[in-house]
């Protein structure tokens, strides 16, 4: 073996003697790599889905909509084509599979659809002719097959049945299509959706038309938001959390590496004395780092994929409920994902290890490892950390000041920067604060030598514990902050649901039968009030007198009756609640918070909206919260909406008279009007659905948070385990002086518990600050709504308990070992 090989083997032999350290190192790398690459895998898959959605037919095409809001049909298409306009029809709807999943169905006319589209993917059997002619073809992404209960290999040509009993045209898997989307010829789609010659929209190649033809409106492709833009903030949040996990994981690594170096100082000195040059030694240590890094990172990335697969359904549910964006539920990873994951983990490792290498390079060959000497170095380090913390705090202050003057809903990146700066300031200030506290306490404990010793000893441990404690602090603060945000959101959301869902039954009858059912209900004595809704689409043309970039907004109509008015939450009004409701009934409008924030609309503004009979100008009299809605919405009284925008009727809420039961009425409605299960829902069912969506929405947030906290606890455990042997050496003299083992164990637990408690206490204000940032800035920018800041004492207690629990748990194992150590072994310990 070459001298170099011998030196490397000698260095690595340390891990044979201390397999726990190796395990910790690999564990840290593994956990950091898994969390980071798992989240990146989720992001990459989602991005792939967006890219496919954006490449779909009409994403970069302009759209024509009727100026008067009437529905489009084939006559519009033919008339415009015969006038020479290159329009193409799109019919879009939803179908329910036999297993109850909803899929988007898009009918196209490939003969007029402009340009290269996702349709233009090879491999479909029979080409255009099979697509166009009965029995037609259903094109779909391979991952959509599961929703139809089809195995991949048997799928081509299969004709699965839908919930309604109709059969889909033979399947033709097409990887370029976005998930949960079926594409077929418009004739086949019209048949499945029973839409006759109705159309959803007409598309034209981008910028073909200078102006809209008379009677139509032109919506330019760039005016519409792509799903990728809408969801960017969500993915940024995920990335931020993954980064947090990576950093916490690297703390473990740093701690383990530092320890491994320290314990090998003697070995290093021996190697230097035997003639191994210092530079070679550093190179060997770097090589060791790379070896460990590769092993840990590869394992991490592999498990990251598993983690991502487990989390992806929740993420998909979140994105679908928050933004209406469809993301596939199976992973699709580009090659650069693998390289990127490896690069980030290795880069992080080298960053974490650079301190160790630096120390190894400046190692004095003689006179090593005096604890007091380390302590002197640590004092310098504490000063530097205090200064760094101050700089971070200043940066946070600056970012906060900058964000405060920005209009709401902007500065997502700066807000994340603010959170990062806050966490960093807290983490950097933690060791100086702990050291100062120990110093102060130690001075007062002259009369209690054991306690004084414990404080002094903790000060000596601090250099090693500091990093783990910092990791714990960050994880605790983030956990508290995110937990408070989610908890606050949950409270607000449930409250809001209660206020919005005032009817006892919700009826969505076929439009043709609505009047008949409504008349029947009007005569029932048990019905106290009928709350008709309506929905529509329009384009926002101007705010006040200023033309704005055109934006499509949803229209929603409610019946402002006695049941709705008292509870419906309003965030701002022009002249009080009562006046707002009066004006709504008289033709004024409310806008949702998302629209108000995005476009700077306040009560008193006048909006100009596109309407069938020419543009409608509406006075905004109130802003209302609208959680969970990705879109801007304008609220009108239902009769106003139906008359002025010719909007089709929506669902009908039925408020029961006092004492009336919902079940008999529901049964009567079902039997009399032959309504199916989805046409009539009771309030509890709707609430359950909404709450279910909410819980899934934040499942991913909670999961990532819990994982981060687990990593931090692991970091602490790793640090303590790593120094267990050395601790024993320190405790042995005390035992020799007559302190019983049980007491020593208690002292040890108290030392760590106190340190953890201090960390937890510092995490409380830090967590609240993080929560305030999330609620006040990040949520507004990411989702478009602002929540009240809730403080949960229970959550804070839980944070303290978690800190204490994690520390005690981590200390338990070394303590147990100490407890079981035979006195003979303690006697045999050398003095430090």
């Amino acid at each position: 073996m070459s001298p170099l090989g011998v030196a490397l083997a000698t260095l690595l032999s340390h891990y044979r003697r201390h397999p726990g350290q190796l395990a910790m190192l690999l564990l840290g790398l593994w956990v950091a790599g898994a969390l980071w690459s798992g989240v990146q895998a989720i992001n990459a898959s989602a991005r792939d889905s967006y890219a496919r959605a954006e490449a779909l037919f009409d994403a970069d095409l302009d759209r024509l909509t009727p100026g008067d809001g009437r529905p489009l049909d084939r006559r519009d298409f033919v008339t415009l084509r015969r006038a020479g306009l290159p329009v193409s029809p799109i019919l879009e709807g939803e179908v329910t599979t036999a297993s109850g999943e909803r899929l988007t169905l898009i009918g196209i006319d490939p003969l007029t659809l402009p340009g290269d589209s996702a349709f233009a993917s090879p491999g479909a059997d029979g080409g255009l002719e099979a697509f166009l002619a009965p029995p037609w073809r259903t094109r779909l992404a391979p991952e959509t097959l599961a929703a139809l209960g089809q195995a991949r290999r048997a799928a081509p040509g299969a004709t699965p049945a839908l919930a309604g009993g109709q059969r889909l045209p033979p399947l033709a898997p097409t990887p370029a299509l976005p998930p949960n989307t079926l594409v077929m010829d418009i004739a086949a789609a019209a048949r499945l959706l029973e839409r006759g010659d109705g159309l959803s929209r007409l598309v034209v190649p981008a910028d073909t038309l200078a102006t809209a033809p008379p009677g139509y409106r032109l919506v330019r492709a760039e005016q519409r938001l792509a799903p990728g833009e809408l969801t960017a903030s969500f993915h940024l949040s995920l990335t931020a959390m993954a980064l947090l996990a990576l950093i916490v994981g690297l703390f473990i690594v740093q701690a383990a590496l530092g320890l491994a170096l320290e314990q090998r100082l003697g070995l290093l000195r021996t190697l230097r004395a035997l003639g191994v040059p210092g530079r070679t030694l550093v190179g060997l240590l770097a090589g060791e780092l790379v070896l460990l890094g590769l092993a840990g990172a590869l394992a991490g990335i592999a498990s990251g994929v598993g983690l991502a697969s487990a989390l992806l359904p929740d993420v998909a549910a979140t994105l679908s409920s928050l933004y209406g964006a469809e993301v596939g539920r199976t992973l699709r990873l580009p090659w650069h994902y693998w390289l990127g994951g490896l690069g980030v983990v290795l880069g992080g490792l080298l960053l974490a290890g650079s301190g160790v290498l630096w120390r190894a390079a400046r190692l004095p060959v003689l006179g090593l490892g005096q604890a007091q000497a380390w302590r002197a170095g640590f004092q310098r380090q504490l000063r530097r950390q205090a200064l760094g913390g101050a700089a971070s705090a200043l940066a946070a202050l600056g970012l906060w000041a900058w964000l405060a003057v920005r209009p709401p809903g902007e500065g997502l990146l700066a807000a994340f920067g603010l959170v990062a700066a806050l966490l960093l300031a807290g983490a950097l200030w933690l060791p100086p604060l702990l050291a100062a506290a120990l110093d102060g306490l130690g001075r007062r404990m002259h009369r209690r030598p054991l306690l004084q010793w414990a404080l002094a000893d903790l000060q000596l441990q601090l250099p090693r514990l500091a990093l783990a404690m910092m990791a714990l602090l960050i994880a605790l603060s983030a956990n508290l902050g995110v937990g408070s945000m989610v908890g606050g959101f949950r409270l607000t959301f449930l409250d809001w649901l209660d206020q919005r869902l005032v009817a006892d039954l919700y009826l969505r009858p076929p439009p043709a039968r609505l009047d008949e059912i409504d008349a029947w209900l009007a005569e029932r004595p048990e019905v106290a009030e009928r709350l008709a809704t309506a929905g529509g689409e329009t384009t926002l043309l101007a705010i006040g007198d200023a033309e704005t970039p055109r934006q499509s907004v949803a229209l929603f109509g409610i019946t402002p009756g006695d049941a709705v008015r008292p509870g419906w939450p309003l965030k701002a009004t022009l002249a009080g609640r009562e006046a707002a409701w009066r004006e709504l009934a008289g033709g004024a409008a409310f806008v949702n918070e998302q629209l108000a924030i995005a476009r700077g609309i306040a009560p008193g503004d006048r909006l100009t909206l596109a309407a069938p009979g020419g543009d409608e100008r509406l006075l905004v009299v109130a802003v209302y919260p609208d959680y969970g809605n990705p879109r801007g919405e304008v609220l009108l009284a239902t009769p106003q909406l139906r008359r002025r925008f010719q909007a089709p009727p929506g669902s009908l809420g039925i408020v029961l008279a006092d004492g009336a039961a919902a079940k008999p009425l529901a049964a009567a409605l079902r039997s009399r009007f032959a309504l199916d299960a989805t046409a009539l829902r009771d309030q509890r069912q709707v609430k359950r659905l909404a709450t279910g969506i909410f819980e899934r929405t934040f499942a991913i947030t909670r999961a990532l948070n819990a994982l981060t906290l687990a990593v931090a606890a692991l970091a602490l455990l790793a640090t303590l385990l790593a120094q267990a042997r050395e601790r024993r050496r320190r405790l042995a003299p005390l035992w020799a002086l007559g302190v019983p083992r049980g007491r020593l164990v208690r002292v040890q637990l108290a030392q760590l518990g106190a340190a953890a408690l201090a960390t937890g206490l510092l995490a409380l204000p830090l967590g609240l600050a993080v929560s305030a940032c999330l609620v006040d800035t990040i949520n507004v920018a990411a989702f478009g709504w602002r929540l009240p800041l809730h403080v949960f004492p229970g959550e804070m207690l839980l944070t303290l308990a978690t800190a204490l629990g994690a520390a005690l748990l981590a200390a338990a194992l070394p303590s147990l070992t100490l407890w079981r150590t035979p006195p003979r072994a303690l006697l045999a310990e050398e003095a430090p």
């Binding site: 033919v78 290269d116 090879p122 479909a124 080409g127 255009l128 002619a133 048949r191």
Partner: protein
């Protein structure tokens, strides 16, 4: 039988839409030959074409949805006010996806496909546009469709590309006076035309080559022409509006099998000769000389037509040029001994490649006497399967 049918195989058009331009000549190895663009395939299930004797007008100016293929094909040799030559093309193809049965299921359902080509060429400038539409052989008011043909009053259209009769009811054949208009492209690249066509002679019925259904004595495609149009109107090209006049030739053809499976392309000539006489020459090319079918029509100024076969005609390529990556014969020798004609037919400009879903060459030609080089006429040449 110019199976100009290019279009025709919208199977191929399908490949266009699917972004895979499958040149028809690039038949996958091992596949049985099916002629150019699948035009030689067997046509089972379609209505046999009625014999010539059963032709009735104006009904037969309209579509025959029971047959597989059909077209309305117009080419014109024009000159602007300065006498500079230019050419235009307007074509509407119909192809049945399957024999029409009961009324189609739903308003969008398609059993017919329509394809239209429009071209304007002058000098090196050659503008081409192509559009598609779905159709149904039965059911549905034709006027409410994106594309179609109505026999009476005669109208053929796809989008705003129109060919319409301007004959007053009961005063002659519907095709005697037509208006054709089309526009395509945008801004500087916009091109189009609006032309009036006046027929100076009668409709002409061509003979049939001996293969397929025709050889078996069972129907075979019907091929009619109106070669006697005088044209006036305006052409838009390169940002200019030009007053033009000249001659045009309209082809009508429908049938189920337009070429034999062994044919892989054709060369087709429609020539306006001096003295109002017209000459149509059509060569279906096979792999070997014996597989090649040559036939044509000699049309006197009064419309009297004499069918020509390979004995009466000879057609020889004289020189080829590379166009769009293919070697195309752009200079030909054409002899018709019984009329004492020995002609050299050459393309006005090589750049007349139609980069449509099924690509082909279609452009104006000049006709000269081989002996003295004197101008004898002009016309159009179409070449496919190269």
């Amino acid at each position: 039988m110019r199976g100009r049918a290019l279009a025709v195989t919208w199977l191929v058009a399908g490949w266009l839409v699917t972004g895979l331009l499958v040149g028809c000549e690039r038949d996958p190895a091992g596949e049985p030959r099916a002629g150019f663009a699948g035009l030689g395939t067997d046509a089972g299930g379609f209505t046999p074409v009625a014999p010539e004797a059963a032709l009735r007008f104006p009904e037969d100016h309209g579509p025959h949805p029971g047959t597989r293929l059909e077209w309305w094909y117009l080419t014109a040799n024009l000159r602007d006010a300065e006498g500079a030559p230019l050419g235009i093309q307007w074509t509407l193809f119909r192809r049945a996806l399957r024999p029409p049965t009961a009324p189609a299921a739903g308003a969008w359902a398609a059993d017919q496909l329509w394809m239209a080509h429009v071209a304007v060429s002058r000098g090196a400038d050659h503008r081409v546009a192509e559009r598609f539409a779905r159709g149904a052989g039965q059911g549905g008011a034709d006027e409410a469709r994106q594309a179609g043909v109505i026999a009476d009053p005669f109208r053929a259209w796809l989008d705003d590309w129109r060919l319409e009769s301007r004959v007053e009811a009961g005063t002659g054949d519907a095709l005697d006076r037509l208006e054709v208009s089309a526009e395509a492209g945008r801004g500087e690249a916009a091109f189009g035309y609006r032309l009036t066509l006046d027929a100076q002679g009668p409709l002409v019925l061509h003979g049939k080559p001996a293969f397929g259904e025709a050889a078996a004595g069972a129907g075979g495609p019907i091929y009619l022409s109106q070669p006697f149009y005088r044209v006036t109107g305006t052409v838009t090209l390169g940002g200019e509006r030009l007053s033009v006049s000249g001659r045009a030739w309209l082809d009508r053809e429908w049938g189920n099998q337009l070429m034999a499976p062994w044919h892989h392309g054709w060369d087709w000539f429609s020539l306006h000769l001096a003295g109002g006489r017209k000459l149509m020459v059509y060569r279906l090319r096979g792999e070997a000389a014996t597989d090649t079918t040559l036939f044509g029509s000699w049309i006197a100024a009064d419309g009297e037509t004499r069918a020509l076969d390979g004995e009466a005609l000879s057609l020889t390529p004289l020189a080829t040029r590379s166009v769009a990556g293919r070697e195309l014969p752009l200079r030909w020798r054409l002899t018709l001994p019984e009329q004492g004609l020995d002609l050299e037919v050459s393309a006005r400009h090589p750049n007349r490649w139609m980069s449509t879903s099924v690509p082909y060459w279609e452009g104006a030609v000049t006709v000269r006497d081989r002996d003295d080089g004197a101008a004898r006429g002009e016309g159009y040449l179409e070449m496919t399967g190269y």
